[in-house]
């Protein structure tokens, strides 16, 4: 086996163009795909017309002045605004296809906000206008959902502000103190102090004075009001944020997006190099007509397969490790977890190499082996990268089963676990070990048929 390995390395050394293209292909495909799948979708371009003059951006909320533009900024967290000078221009941008949608803030929005806070239930709520391009339902839905989500955030923030003001006013009503009005600041007695005053007044009245019963009624009312208003603040807090979100992970790892991108890029590089080399170098034995000569007593077929797996896995490991070293310049690769990700790289390389050898055992020449490797690699990578929730339950179940039959998904999981804090490393490595054995067995069976021809 040693001499066959040396022979194959000599052949690779004498095919620098082929080897260069293979390595470059793996890296050039791996990097953008890895980062592409992990990058958040780009912000949709939305035409934005703000009809509110800069000086009129604020409205009064109780004693506070609130800047409405602060809430409008929330809209731009997920969209790329194209600022325009009129409502018509915003609509034209959508029609021309320059923007996916348009958001129009009417000039009287602060006045509407003012009215809404002063005359709740009577005045119309403040209204923004949103326009969509209807030529592509997918784009329309995307923009619609993005704008709605951000508007909900802005609404929530604004209602939080209103709640704070209302809670402050209730505090004054309860405990008393200064209260700012447009006409000036007044000192409010407050219910608690009012109750104290009333109790004092009642004590000073003669025991049979008929005013005592009337005062007692007012004191009782003050008690009820104090008790009720004591509950008001927590209730207002609950209204401001009625639902609390608690995030839990039930499957998959907890690694970072950047770490996952590195794992995906390395997995793609491993796949291309190992599958293509494993398939190609075994098919080369047949193309050179040397296979028959080798297996008629010089080398056992299983040893020949093991040699090809070792060769392809070593080369793929070297390329993927080099890629990780390159990526480490931009995204830190954790050296303290090196044994974990090196194990993932090694077993991933072995799994892909065994798959490549199985492909090589089915084909007669290098060209067919390469073509079959490409035809197989691209869909298994694509399927393994389909996130849950993007397809129906049955389709995702089928995708999971198919992905489990190939080394891409377990290699990605193992590398993600090794490079990031994600869990499931041992399971993924065991899965890869099982797949390597299975593909070697399939290759051995295919070679039996091959030798008989």
């Amino acid at each position: 086996m040693r001499w066959l390995l040396v022979k194959d390395l000599q052949i690779l050394r004498r095919s620098p163009l082929l080897l260069g293209v293979l390595v470059a292909y793996a890296v050039v495909i791996g990097l953008p795909v890895g980062y592409g799948i992990s990058a958040p979708p780009s912000k949709p371009r939305v035409a934005f017309y703000n009809g509110v003059p800069a000086a009129e951006n604020t409205f009064d909320l109780g004693e506070r002045k609130v800047d409405a533009s602060r809430y409008a900024d929330r809209l731009f967290e997920d969209i790329e605004p194209i600022r325009v000078d009129s409502r018509e221009e915003a609509i034209a941008k959508v029609k021309d296809g320059e923007a996916l949608g348009a958001l129009v803030v009417p000039g009287d929005i602060t006045e509407q906000l003012q009215n809404a806070t002063e005359l709740p239930g009577i005045s119309e709520p403040p209204t923004l206008e949103v326009f969509y391009a209807a030529d592509n339902p997918l784009k329309r839905r995307y923009v619609e959902q993005t704008v709605k989500a951000r508007l909900a955030d802005a609404n929530l923030a604004l209602s939080g502000e209103v709640t704070k003001v209302a809670a402050g006013a209730l505090d004054v009503l309860l405990a008393g103190g200064p209260f700012v009005l447009p006409t000036g600041t007044i000192d409010v007695l407050g219910l608690r102090r009012a109750k104290t005053v009333l109790l004092d007044a009642q004590r000073k009245l003669p025991g049979n004075d008929p005013q005592r019963a009337a005062l007692q009624q007012v004191i009782d009312f003050a008690d009820v009001a104090i008790t009720s208003l004591n509950f008001a603040n927590p209730v207002l807090g609950a209204i401001a944020a009625p639902i609390r979100v608690e995030t839990n992970e039930v499957s998959g790892g907890g690694g970072s997006l950047e770490g996952f991108a590195v794992a995906a890029a390395a997995t793609i590089a491993l796949m291309f190099v190992a599958v293509l080399l494993g398939a190609g170098m075994l098919a080369l034995e047949r193309e050179e007509h040397a296979f028959g000569r080798l297996v008629r007593g010089l080398v056992r077929p299983s040893a020949l397969l093991a040699e090809k797996v070792l060769l392809a896995a070593l080369c793929a490991f070297a390329v993927a490790a080099g890629l990780l070293a390159l990526l480490a310049l931009f995204e830190p690769v954790p050296l303290d977890r090196a044994p974990r990700w090196l194990a993932a790289l090694a077993l991933g390389a072995a799994g892909f190499a065994a798959l490549g050898v199985a492909v090589g055992a089915l084909t007669r020449d290098v060209r067919a082996a390469s073509l079959l490797s490409f035809l197989l690699s691209l869909p298994i990578a694509a399927l393994a990268l389909v996130p849950s929730g993007t397809v129906g339950e049955a389709a995702f179940g089928a995708i999971r089963v198919v992905s489990a039959l190939f080394p891409f998904k377990p290699t990605l999981s193992a590398l993600d676990a090794g490079l990031n804090e994600a869990g499931g490393l041992v399971l993924a490595l065991a899965h890869l070990g099982l797949l390597t054995g299975t593909y070697l067995t399939l290759a051995r069976l295919a070679l039996r048929r091959f030798a008989a021809q």
Partner: protein, 230 residues
């Protein structure tokens, strides 16, 4: 070397039907017959490439030098690297000496470091044969060894093969489509048709067996097959 009642079936098709023959040391035997007669199947069973469905072969693959029809060597390696690789795989004791011996035998000393893919078809075939001879086998099997060679290269090839039988006492069995070559270089011919061994003897015996006025071996061979429905 002896083959006893060797048969081979692929599913329902019988490629070889109980073929038996023996070849002595120093003897050159040609296996001839029309296309699909089973020549390559017989040689590949004798070489140990595949097992017979029934019957036995007296020699082990390790004792046999195998020269397939197409050069079974690596075009990206040099002549010497190919020979050295196979010498190591054959576990030849002194592989460097074996490589030198084969380079001398094939007359390719000057091309030892040339990549095989840059050599002519004839020279590649000489390296192919040299690989088959590396372990000094007692039996040499060649499948259509001259099919890709020009007349001059063919002449040199047969000189080499004849000298192996004559001087080293090797048993040589080769298949060929070229009936003239069989007549010229073989001591004995085996005629196969549809997997059946129809004739075993010298070319002169074949001519006599046909019993026709033709004294030409090729014409006698064609007439022999025709009379037996092939």
């Amino acid at each position: 070397m002896r083959a006893d009642a060797v048969s081979k079936s692929y599913g329902q098709r019988e490629a070889l039907k109980a073929v038996s023959f023996a070849a002595e040391a120093g003897e050159v035997v040609a296996v001839i017959g029309p296309n699909g007669a089973g020549k390559t199947t017989l040689l590949s069973i004798l070489a140990g490439l595949q097992a017979p469905s029934s019957g036995t072969v007296s020699v082990r693959p390790a004792e046999v030098g195998w020269v397939p029809q197409q050069p079974a060597i690596y075009s990206k390696l040099s002549v010497a690297e190919n020979l050295r690789l196979f010498a190591r795989l054959e576990r030849v004791a002194d592989h460097d000496a074996a490589v030198e011996r084969m380079l001398a035998l094939t007359g390719l000393e000057a091309r030892a470091d040339d990549e095989l893919g840059r050599l002519s078809g004839g020279n590649q075939q000489r390296v192919n044969i040299a690989v088959g001879l590396l372990a000094s086998p007692s039996v040499l099997l060649l499948d259509e060894p001259s099919s890709s060679l020009d007349p001059r290269q063919r002449e040199r090839l047969w000189e080499l093969i004849s000298s192996l039988a004559r001087e080293d006492g090797s048993t040589v069995v080769f298949s060929t489509h070229n009936v003239g070559e069989a007549e010229r270089y073989a001591d004995r011919v085996l005629v196969l048709a549809d997997g059946e061994l129809l004739f075993e003897g010298s070319p002169a015996e074949m001519v006599r067996a046909v019993g026709s006025p033709e004294r030409d071996f090729e014409a006698a061979f064609v007439r022999f097959l025709h009379e037996r429905g092939h």
